[in-house]
């Protein structure tokens, strides 16, 4: 399999493309070129006002700033780890902004942009990566499930949730749907295949949004698949589509269409957002050990934010003042995040025993009391001294 500079894929000799012919070229839906020029696609018409485009730019720029601040906080020892979304902003903002308030989203641990779109306070994400909680937010509040760290597990949760939508009679006109995020590495997990099967045979209203960022820590896509990932859907019996994951317009349009189809009862879609993990897997990773700098440089030319900026400038929709305002807002958010992160208290030690069961069991209560007494014994000794 070869990947062209524009992200299109040619199947390797001996493997079959979507149309069953050897060496067929995969189609990539693109509505905004890396140079910031608008493109059209007959299946994905997209009308955006200047304000809507500016809104998308603001989302992209601010989540990148949140990400940058979080990396810095990790370097300063304030976070244990951080999984950067650098390079994947368009895939996340485009798909995230395609969701309605009643739609449900199931993220991995890298969906900071989707979290932003759902209205989750970024500090909740920092709590997790600081080690203050395992997440701790209410999934129903923003219709945004907890981050799932085990690769691919959440695809089944999303599918089950979608089956619940069916049982609530919430499919059809004014229906609800689910979107679930996962990566190229996750497509090798059995749970993801099982989710595809369940969604297919039950025709569940779920959109599988795969951010193919080309790398599963150090393993390239070629270690996960011989065919373009979106083509997997065909074998499971539902449509798959590949979108330019660095094109926020295309991600928005393609996700909107797939979500609407799901809401109306047309079942699942697999969207492969073809993108690139510009940073390390997490702050503990060193990508220089396994990939070439030239690859990163090539993808920098396809930056998801720069092309929107170029489009806004070229179309005259935004000038210097707009971009300066966004920069100022980003600075404010950065300041807030830095201060709030450092001020975040550790939970008390006895929080370990909370929320294990609906009601505390007598066994847990007794362990808790014993540990509390043990801790108090030190306080007593200190007081005696």
């Amino acid at each position: 399999m070869t990947v062209d500079a524009d992200g299109a894929v040619t199947a390797a000799p001996g493997s079959l493309g979507l149309d069953g012919q050897q060496g067929s070229r995969a189609e990539l839906i693109q509505l905004l070129t890396p140079e910031g020029e608008r493109a059209e696609h007959p299946d994905y018409p997209l009308e955006l006002t200047a304000d809507e485009v500016k809104g998308l730019y603001r989302d992209l720029a601010l989540v990148r700033r949140i990400d940058t601040e979080a990396i810095a906080l990790q370097r300063q020892g304030e976070l244990g780890i951080w999984a950067s979304l650098l390079g994947q902003e368009a895939a996340q903002i485009g798909s995230g902004r395609a969701l309605g308030p009643r739609d449900m989203a199931f993220p991995t641990y890298r969906e900071h942009g989707v979290a932003w779109c759902r209205g989750l306070d970024p500090m909740k994400l920092l709590e997790l990566f600081r080690g203050v909680s395992h997440g701790g937010w209410d999934p129903q509040e923003h219709h945004f499930h907890l981050y799932t760290i085990v690769i691919g597990s959440q695809t089944l949760h999303a599918t089950g949730y979608a089956m619940g939508i069916q049982r609530d009679g919430a499919v059809g006109e004014d229906g609800e749907a689910v979107i679930v995020y996962f990566g190229d590495g996750a497509t090798s997990q059995g749970d993801v295949s099982e989710a595809f099967i369940w969604a297919s045979v039950f025709n569940a209203p779920v959109v599988f949004f795969c951010q193919n960022n080309q790398w599963a820590i150090s393993e390239p896509l070629e270690r996960q698949s011989r065919i373009p990932l979106y083509q997997r859907a065909r074998g499971f019996g539902f449509p798959g589509v590949r979108v330019d994951g660095n094109d926020v317009f295309a991600c928005l349009a393609v996700t909107r269409k797939a979500m609407q189809a799901a809401r109306e009862g047309q079942g699942p879609t697999l969207i492969e957002a073809f993108t690139y993990r510009m940073g390390a897997h997490t702050t503990t990773d060193d990508p220089t050990r396994y990939r070439l700098a030239s690859e990163l440089e090539a993808w920098k030319l396809k930056d998801p934010i720069e092309r929107v900026k170029a489009y806004l400038v070229r179309s005259g929709a935004a000038g210097t003042a707009f971009f300066e305002d966004i920069e100022t807002e980003a600075d404010q958010i950065g300041r807030h995040i830095r201060q709030a992160c450092r001020a975040m208290p550790d939970p008390g030690p006895l929080a370990i025993f909370e929320n294990v069961y609906a009601e505390p069991t007598s066994l847990l209560q007794s362990e808790r009391e014993q540990y509390a007494a043990y801790l108090d014994s030190f306080t007593g000794e200190e007081a005696a001294q």
Binding site: H134, G136, H145, L146, R167, E194, I197, V201, A358
Partner: protein, 327 residues
């Protein structure tokens, strides 16, 4: 009162749960038209429809993973794992997701999912159809683990498990599916013991024998045999394996001074080890002998022609009881 097999008692309990709460769903392999390979769900799809009694694709992780999603949506799924040895593909979803979501969400999320698992041997089955994996789940915080031993408990405990806001691993003693007893299916559950409570099956004064699931009947038969030899054996059905009803267990052992734990599962790292440690710590000065265990060997489950040697029987239970009197 109605005379029912344990299998039919479960069926009636599931029916009640489906009637009482529209959010209750049943899902698993062959649970629909067939009614399950042990017929525990017989007739339920016919009466409640295939949206509530769901024949799933054959993938256990998928069953539990989608049940988690349904629970997030407000449903109460009851999943059937067809046989004990087939639960392992779902182990990750149970241990990493189902058990932990309450803590991960700081209590915002409840996971009222019941996982029914026919367990244990004694039916001459092929490999993977006779296992007792309960200790793996007892070791997992966030799960409740229960085992029913007779039809009346089966009827009440399945309903209590479904009503519980925690995930419950519900073990069914498959070789006791055809045991019959009187069950009150007309009355409510008000008179039933709470889900977490250990029950005295036979009162005795000389030694406490703790068991659960398929071994309860064996232990009761052993106690009757011992009585003819003048030995008074107290038999307790743990019912709840996690959390353990330690107060009830300790009270009995403090009275008798001797304790034997009986289970089919391999002795090493089994529930007997946990009970022995706790009883030793809390009842040390009441004990006349160490806590002994009559359990499956520390081996894989053997081919069925050898299972009578592997499974503790009446004689092995009595042998352990006798040994507690040699210290």
């Amino acid at each position: 009162m109605t005379r029912l097999t344990l299998s039919k008692a479960l069926n009636e309990g599931l029916r009640k749960a489906l009637e009482n709460d529209p959010k209750v769903l049943i899902m698993g392999e062959d649970v629909g038209k067939l009614g399950g390979v042990f017929r525990v769900t017989d007739g339920l799809q016919k009466d409640f429809g295939d949206m509530r009694v769901v024949d799933t694709p054959l993938a256990e992780s998928g069953i539990i993973g989608t049940a988690i999603g349904l629970a997030l949506r407000g449903f109460r799924p009851v999943c059937e794992i067809q046989f004990d040895g087939f639960v392992y593909p779902a182990f990750d979803q149970i241990v990493s997701q189902l058990a932990k979501l309450r803590m991960r969400s700081l209590g915002h999320v409840s996971m009222p999912v019941t996982i029914r698992i026919p367990c244990g041997g004694g039916i001459g089955a092929v490999e993977h159809h006779s296992e007792s994996p309960e200790a793996l789940f007892v070791h997992t915080a966030g799960l409740r683990v229960v085992a029913c031993g007779d039809p009346a408990d089966a009827y009440a405990m399945i309903q209590q498990s479904i009503a519980c806001d925690d995930p419950v691993i519900f073990f069914e003693p498959k070789r006791r599916y055809w045991d019959k007893a009187e069950v009150d299916i007309a009355g409510g559950l008000a008179a039933a013991a709470p889900l977490g409570q250990t029950r005295t099956v036979i009162e005795g004064t000389d030694v406490t024998v703790l068991s659960y699931g398929p071994m309860v009947r064996t232990c009761a038969e052993a106690a009757l045999a011992a009585r003819s030899e003048g030995r008074s054996v107290e038999v307790m059905d743990l019912r709840s394996l996690s959390p353990l009803d330690t107060e009830t267990i300790f009270a009995s052992v403090r009275r008798t001074g001797r304790c034997v734990v009986v289970h089919e599962a391999p002795v090493t790292g089994g529930l007997g080890a946990e009970i022995a440690a706790r009883v030793t710590e809390e009842c040390f000065y009441h004990l006349e002998a160490p806590v002994l265990r009559a359990c499956g060997f520390s081996t894989p489950y053997p081919p069925s022609r050898l299972e009578d040697h592997y499974l503790p029987d009446l004689d092995r239970v009595l042998d352990a009881v006798d040994r507690t009197f040699t210290y």
